[in-house]
Structures are given as structure tokens and as C-alpha cells.
């Protein structure tokens, strides 16, 4: 069964990063949410823990927004 990646990111960002759920939108940038590059790596590790989907460092170079990360993760579970 496919994971709902957006819901998973929202869960991680609200619970582990203390970000209000209504700020976690597809268009929100990680920088705008207050995440630095270390945080983004930590976020992907949490995603991997919950879904088994691994996002590689070089794949993250073009990831700016939550939507970018969701699309990347979704592309890996098809």
C-alpha cells in the first residue's frame, strides 16, 4: 500500500519540529519553515524510519519545498 507522504511529512514536522500543521503546505519551503540543511537530512531519516523510503543526499540538492520532497518520495514508491 502506498504511503501518504504529505501526511507523513506533516506528522513529522508538527511532532518533531514543532511547526504548526497549517504551515505545512506543498508550497512551503523548508527554509521558510525554519529548517536548515541538517534538519532536512534529519527529516528524511524520519521519513525513512516511517516508510522505508530513502532520499539520497544528491537527490535532495534540488528539493526546496515540501512539495518537491513529497514528489521525490512518491516517485520512489511507484
Amino acid at each position: 500500500m502506498a504511503h501518504d507522504i504529505m501526511a507523513t511529512f506533516t506528522e513529522i514536522l508538527t511532532e518533531d519540529f514543532d511547526i504548526p500543521a497549517d504551515e505545512v503546505t506543498r508550497d512551503a519551503t523548508f527554509e521558510g519553515l525554519g529548517l536548515d540543511s541538517l534538519d532536512v537530512v534529519d527529516l528524511t531519516l524520519a521519513l525513512e524510519e516511517k516508510t522505508g523510503i530513502t532520499l539520497e543526499d544528491d537527490e535532495l540538492e534540488d528539493v526546496v519545498s515540501v512539495g518537491d520532497a513529497v514528489d521525490l518520495a512518491d516517485s520512489k514508491q511507484q
Binding site: E15, D16, F17, D18, D39, D42, L45, E48, T54
Partner: protein, 418 residues
């Protein structure tokens, strides 16, 4: 050289949070030792620890902050924020610990931070290493290094307050909190800062550290809180691990007077030395401890007879207490200062101990009261010193020495007056 005064105090300790609560906890002589929930259910050879009560960093700071920092940094933030508020240096603002940071009018580039820690992010090591072993290198958190580093707490205090003066962490193991105050004071004396946020912090209560200290024979295996940590007692057999942080604001007297700050005491003497002897054991002749005390007295320009009370290192280990009492006798001769160890209540806070005990030294002066050495019923007949046990002792106290001795044979003594 300028006099250096204390204008702010903060503490979060097993004896309580805040200066008044922690001091009352120490005066009560009720040990803070309690069975640790983890160590009573696994195979850890020692089950008692002195933990900070009722502290929920997630609720206090939010997960966004706490997930990026080790518990040791959380504790240092609490103590530093209390000290800065006590000193009247914080602006209103959104930071849950530091409000708006250093207030307008404070010259931020002249405010330093000097912390001592023996270990740093011990719990981060303990929780992350299994990830590496079980899940592999690619699952190691990128937060591991910044959370674990022992200088992170000092760095975070600067980030959240805006203090851009000299900023460092000193490690002399169990003397680190005192060493930080020593060096912090000297930064002010040498003109490199007007104020230094100085203290110690430790959060080393992990299964790994508890097991290792137990294997060394340093921890008591006594599981009765009312007798486990009993400094100078004939039946003492080791220390109880504690955690916490204490921080003071050190300030040049001219700067403090100019801004009308309340002065809680003066750090007039500091001495440091090495045993040059052994990794963990003190020399029988008290060598390094004697030197540290003598140097602190010399630095203060005091005769031994001017010290009324000593807050001892007094860990409750057989070797430390015997050697320390002997060293005190060598330094003070027939003048017998009232000797007390507050570790009967707090346990041993390792790198935070010297800072926590500096706060208690200041309180002793402010209240003319020596706290009793808790749990100690019968002073070791091999110890020839005026050990205060039972009730707090009311007496005129002008000057207090606080001793701290670290593994590696690194020693620090501080002298405080009103």
C-alpha cells in the same frame, strides 16, 4: 586588577530549581537520590541517581528546540536564563528561555560565556550509537555532532542572547564548573569582557556511564537514598550520580555599580593545580588539592584563618574524602573551617558540581548558615576536620572556599566573600 562580583545566579539541580528552592533542599538534608526507572529494570549494577525533578524540556522549550540539543544543553539554558534574569539583563521576547536576549544597553560584544562540562552530550552518544550499529552509517543523525559536542551549550547561550564576547567550554572533569568561573573571572580581570556567563553543566546519567563508574568502584552500591551519598562518613563507599547545571553572571565591579546591579558576592580567589599522579586517584599527601587551596588563598590575599567555611568536594568516595580532609588540615592547620559537602543531598554533578556548590557557597555567606553534610552520621575517625552534620549551623560567615577535584588530577578552589 578589577574586582569581579556575582550579579546573577541560576541553578537547576536534584535539590531543586532556582536558587531558593535548591538552597532549601540542601538545608533540608534530605537526599535527592532515587531509584532510576531504567536502572531498576535492567542489569545496571547501581540503581540510584540524583535526577533533576519535574523538568520537561519539550513542554518548556518545544520539540523544535529540544530535538536539536542534548539534555545537557537544555539544563544549561535553564540555569543561564535564570542567572541572566536574576542579573536584570534580559529583554522581553519570544524565546522561552531567554526572552528577547540581552537587553538594550548591554554591550553584547563584551559579554562572554564560559561553561564547564565533563562529558557534554552523553545521552546523545548513548541514543545514537545503537542507530549506527543496528541500522548502519546512513542512518546516523546529522544532529549527532552538534548535539554531542561539549561546547554546544555555551554556543547556544550566545546564539539565544546575542552575547559575542569570548565563548568557550573548559573541561577539568569534576572540577569543570569551578574552572569555568576561574577562567571567566580572569577574562574580566584581563579586560577581555565586562561580564561572563559562567558555570557548569552535566547530564551524564546514562546506563553506559553508570555502568562504567560502577565498574571503577566509584559509585556506591548502597540502594538506600538516606545513606547512599554520605560524605566523610565512616561507612561511605562511593558517590551517587547527579545531573544539573548552575550558572552565575560574573561582572567587573565597576560595570556592576555603573548599571546599579545587585551584588550577590565576590569571587576573590581562584586556584588551579594538577596532582601529576594518577588518572583517578588522589595522592595520599594531598599534593594537588593543597596547591589549589593555597593558590586560591594567595590569589585572594587571605590568611587561612580568614576562611570560615569550606564547601568540600566531598564526593563520598573513601579516597576523595580522606585525602581532601587531610589536605584541608595541611592548609589550615589549627584553624578548622566548618567543612560541609552538599553532595549528600545532590549527589555528584561531575562537571556541574563546582558551579552548583559555588551557588551554595554564596548562599552560605548571604544567610550565615553552613548546610549540613546530609546522611553522614559518624564522621570517619580517620578524618580530622570540623565536619558539619545534622542541622544547618548558624555562624558568622565572611569567606567561603569551594573545592572541586577532577579525574586526571585536575584541581580547582574558589574563594567567595559577600
Amino acid at each position: 586588577m578589577t574586582d569581579v562580583v556575582i550579579t546573577g545566579r541560576g541553578i537547576i539541580s536534584p535539590a531543586g530549581r532556582g536558587v531558593d528552592e535548591a538552597w532549601q533542599g540542601v538545608l533540608s538534608a534530605v537526599s535527592a537520590a532515587a531509584p532510576h526507572p531504567q536502572f531498576t529494570t535492567d542489569d545496571t549494577p547501581v540503581t540510584l541517581a540524583c535526577m533533576v525533578p519535574d523538568f520537561d524540556p519539550d513542554a518548556e522549550f518545544g520539540r523544535g528546540t529540544t530535538r536539536r540539543l542534548d539534555r545537557y544543553a537544555h539544563l544549561a539554558m535553564v540555569a543561564a536564563a535564570e542567572a541572566l534574569a536574576d542579573a536584570g539583563l534580559l529583554a522581553d521576547g519570544d524565546d522561552p528561555a531567554f526572552g528577547g536576549g540581552l537587553a538594550d544597553g548591554v554591550e553584547r560584544d563584551r559579554v562572554g560565556v564560559l561553561l564547564g562540562s565533563g562529558i557534554g552530550g552523553a545521552q546523545t552518544w548513548a541514543s545514537e550509537y545503537p542507530n549506527y550499529i543496528e541500522k548502519g552509517p546512513r542512518r546516523v543523525s546529522p544532529m549527532f555532532i552538534p548535539k554531542m559536542l561539549s561546547n554546544t551549550a555555551a554556543g547556544v547561550i550566545s546564539m539565544r542572547t546575542g552575547a559575542r564576547g569570548p565563548n568557550m567550554t573548559v573541561n577539568t572533569a569534576c572540577a569543570a564548573g569551578a574552572s569555568a568561573m576561574h577562567i571567566g573571572r580572569d577574562l574580566i580581570r584581563s579586560g577581555q569582557a565586562d561580564m561572563v556567563i559562567a558555570g557548569g553543566v552535566e547530564a551524564g546519567i546514562t546506563g553506559l556511564a553508570m555502568s562504567a563508574f560502577a565498574q571503577m568502584g566509584a559509585l556506591t552500591k548502597n540502594d538506600d537514598p538516606a545513606s547512599a551519598s554520605r560524605p566523610f562518613d565512616v561507612a561511605r563507599d562511593g558517590f551517587v550520580m547527579g545531573e544539573g547545571s548552575a550558572v552565575v553572571v560574573l561582572e567587573s565591579v565597576e560595570h556592576a555599580e555603573r548599571r546599579g546591579a545587585t551584588i550577590f558576592g565576590r569571587l576573590v580567589g581562584a586556584g588551579a593545580s594538577a596532582d601529576a599522579h594518577h588518572m583517578t586517584a588522589p595522592p595520599e599527601d594531598g599534593g594537588g588539592a593543597i596547591l589549589a587551596m593555597q593558590r586560591a588563598l594567595h590569589d585572594a590575599g587571605f590568611d587561612p584563618a580568614e576562611i570560615d567555611h569550606i564547601n568540600a568536594h566531598g564526593t563520598s568516595t573513601p579516597l576523595n574524602d580522606k585525602t581532601e580532609a587531610y589536605a584541608v588540615g595541611q592548609v589550615f592547620g589549627d584553624h578548622r573551617p566548618a567543612l560541609a559537602s552538599t553532595k549528600g543531598v545532590t549527589g555528584h554533578l561531575l562537571g556541574a558540581a563546582g558551579a552548583v556548590e559555588a551557588i551554595f557557597a554564596l548562599q552560605a555567606i548571604a544567610t550565615d548558615t553552613v548546610p549540613p553534610t546530609a546522611n553522614t552520621d559518624t564522621v570517619d575517625p580517620g578524618i580530622d576536620a570540623d565536619v558539619v552534620i545534622g542541622e544547618p549551623r548558624s555562624m558568622a560567615i565572611r569567606a567561603v572556599m569551594s573545592n572541586s577535584f577532577g579525574f586526571g588530577g585536575q584541581n580547582a578552589s574558589l574563594v567567595f566573600i559577600a
